[in-house]
Symmetry: C2
Subunit: 133 residues, 2 copies
């Protein structure tokens, strides 16, 4: 088991301010949460996630749905599985993907709501460091 993955609120924080303790205080834990968000930070993976939200989906179905190369889609799906967003079940030569935890849908709904409120700002964000959007 990996250590320090609880949000944790050690005694020695910033003086005079409460620590919300939403996110792990240790760099390792934060890196993990960041990785999780990066897994959600690709339009294709979001499309796959939503595609699987309506029921178990086969790999080939996914390839047809997102219209990318089979290899690329397989990698995206593997990423979603190892990041805990999808589960995979093998049956014969096919792989069947589905949402791992229904709370993911809540997460997506909430994010969508926040994004919708700030859509134009976000669209204008050149992100960190200068780079074409």
């Amino acid at each position: 088991m990996l250590r320090g993955l609880t949000p944790a609120m050690p005694g020695g924080g910033a003086p005079g301010r409460p620590r919300p303790g939403l996110i792990p205080a240790d760099p390792e834990g934060r890196r993990l949460v960041a990785k999780f968000f990066r897994a959600l930070g690709d339009p294709t993976r979001l499309a796959l996630l939503e595609f699987c939200a309506s029921g178990e989906r086969q790999g080939t179905e996914c390839v047809r749905h997102v219209q990318l190369s089979q290899g690329r889609v397989a990698t995206h799906l593997a990423c979603l599985v190892t990041c805990g967003l999808l589960t995979v079940r093998r049956e014969g030569r096919s792989a069947l993907y589905s949402i791992r935890d229904p709370r993911e849908l809540e997460l997506l709904r909430l994010s969508q709501a926040l994004v919708a409120e700030q859509a134009e700002e976000i669209a204008s964000c050149t992100r960190v460091a200068t780079s074409p959007g």
Copy 2:
């Protein structure tokens, strides 16, 4: 106003399956949500977000907190602002950052819970395409 940012559930979907409509169906909207998640997909920005969660924070405070160059931190903060996660208030020569919407905290809590359950899997994820972790 940008178009097509509602989750939307157009009539012509996949046959025989309900469409959850969690995420915008159009590529533009999905790209926006993905961008939002990428903004959350950096450990430093997560640290800054949590830092500002306990109250208004000045830019210089943030620099001291995350221990990166001032320029880098300014860029991270700007990214968080334009992605709708922080708001900034100017006062004299200082910039004061705070959380824009309390629902962000719920988002972080929920994500943290999901990550904690799959920590080892996520840690082992080489992410998409081969790349050192």
